[in-house]
Symmetry: C2
Subunit: 346 residues, 2 copies
């Protein structure tokens, strides 16, 4: 099933850990921000995708059903876009006890005040309505994330630049563990910064989410795509076709930049729009066709995968089994480093 | 190996969870405060003793060797005082992944501010030199303790009254989990309050600890016991034998109250001491004999057990195996309650 031969020295391959909180089906924002890259990375790296359902619970503890119901949905999304379980290990966080166990060990090496200073956590706390009631699991999730990353010996972690503090926090844990153990038990990781900026929502404001109805899902129908593009935010001052239009902040052009296969053509289109004479109906039609062409095969694949839940579960189980071995070995190394491997030795 | 027959309806037996952080060998304070009670409880209840090495790490993260080296030491202490592994499950916290996993789930149901209000944690933080650098694992250890208690379906938890807030916090978690699950997944527990007050250190100040040299260990020699009793704090104003002495705060009498088998005799002795005419040398001699008689068989048993580390490890492994089943079943129930049992169902 492997399309490309493995390089002779596979030890030189980077080990990539990436993943998603299964809070809903994935959408175009995920496609452009991470899924597309993962399809490429699986040929170059040892890639693991973690379905981070425990992390999903950190701010959905009162509604675990939301997390539970979306686990196989995101697996279907992965397969639909071309992630190949023969190349990429797809696994479920809650079925990897070593991740929870490593979190316990690491928790003693990270202070509460250090967590409170983590800029990513700070801003995420602000964006949620926790008030004074921050769940312990939410404040401490960078520790759990450090457990995830190190458990897989990840050397490369795809992140947005808002997530850089998480990488720094992880490497602090690595150095602490190695220092206590007196040897290199864990490996440090590097961020793989995406050069794609976050895709705006269809209405041009806020984050994309299915419930807000401001996004295009990976299984949207032609009709839904058409409707979403028609409703798309453009240049509110572009009142007639003849008047010059603005492309900055114009969601249609942001999407064309992100998805259209011919950048030269889009550059021309932009120039035309800017000098006037190009209507929003026209640019939207181009985008609509482009998105329908992109999504049609994904949707079709997704329908096939989503129809066979047993297969999705089998794929997730198989990947989790493999991940269990890898993460179990890391846990054994950490225990041995701390002299707490008496059951493993005996 | 069972000395007493199991009652016909064993479901009416209480389930007891108790344990120790393996930060050192156990001493007379543990004997009077908990070990003696456990020997009794093992005939009446389903008793599990957890060697809480992960909790031991919460304030010893930089010195895991201290924790590692004391695990089998406390197991030897248990066996020496008469805890019978056929009646009591003795198990190791770090080898029970379900405890770490339950901690992850519960962490999302307890807020940081609730933990900061926990009086036990508050005072324990004050008694340690953390300053602003409180390890996350330390602040959150009540969550981990709730995981321990609930994982074993404990209905009865022996505690000192300073630990009552931990029981309350545990039952809050139980109610939260049951409320989110919409059914009774976990059982609430009750404290089993000890009627014994904390045994003072030999020098009458502070906590007993082997390193401070102010205690009597369970394997102390006759000579060490003699030396400790001779150095024991009495009534500093009791300058001559004839003068009246004070028994309150007099460590010798506190120990006689705790350990002497004949309370009526001790009552007489106290009266004599209070009216004058009884020297500290005399009372100390009585205590010395009493303690030597108590400790001699424990020390002898302990030497036999401690000489066979392989047997200690085998006992701990066997108990841990049993505990793994019990705690694994609880984890499965919690997962099912949250709808996250897709691997168990499928």
């Amino acid at each position: 099933m492997q399309e490309n031969p493995t390089p002779a020295d596979s030890s030189q391959r980077q080990t990539v850990l990436t993943g998603d909180r299964p809070t809903g089906q994935l959408h175009l924002g995920h496609f452009i921000g991470s899924l597309r890259q993962r399809v490429r990375l699986q040929d170059e790296c040892n890639q693991t995708i973690l379905v981070a359902n425990l992390q999903g619970l950190t701010d959905n503890a009162n509604d675990p059903g939301k997390i539970a119901s979306n686990i196989l949905e995101v697996v279907a999304d992965y397969l639909a876009v071309g992630i190949d379980p023969a190349k990429t290990t797809i696994c479920l966080q809650s079925e990897l006890p070593a991740l929870a166990e490593l979190t316990m060990y690491y928790s003693n090496l990270v202070t509460i005040s250090r967590l409170e200073r983590n800029p990513t956590v700070k801003s995420e706390i602000q964006s949620r309505a926790f008030g004074r009631s921050i769940p312990a699991g939410f404040l401490t999730y960078p520790i759990s994330q450090a457990a995830d990353i190190t458990a897989f010996d990840a050397t490369l972690v795809p992140v947005g630049d808002d997530q850089l503090p998480m990488i720094e926090q992880t490497n602090e844990v690595v150095r602490k563990v190695n220092s206590v153990a007196g040897k290199d038990v864990l490996v440090e990781c590097k961020p793989l910064l995406s050069n794609v900026s976050r895709l705006p929502s269809v209405d041009g404001k806020g984050k994309m989410s299915k419930s807000a109805g401001n996004t295009i899902m990976l299984d949207s129908t032609d009709k839904e795509i058409s409707k979403a593009v028609k409703a798309m935010y453009t240049d509110p001052n572009h009142l007639t076709i003849d008047s010059p239009g603005q492309v900055e902040g114009n969601v249609v052009f942001t999407y064309l930049d992100a998805f259209h296969p011919d950048p030269a053509y889009i550059a021309e289109l932009k120039a035309h729009y800017q000098r006037g004479g190009l209507g929003d109906g026209h640019t939207k039609k181009i985008l609509e066709e482009c998105l329908q062409e992109l999504i049609r095969p994904i949707r079709e694949q997704r329908q096939i995968y989503a129809a066979d839940k047993a297969q999705l579960l089998a794929i997730l189980k198989e990947g989790t089994e493999r991940a269990r071995e890898v993460t179990g070995r890391t846990l054994d190394r950490v225990k041995a480093g701390f002299g707490l491997d008496l059951f493993q030795r005996g």
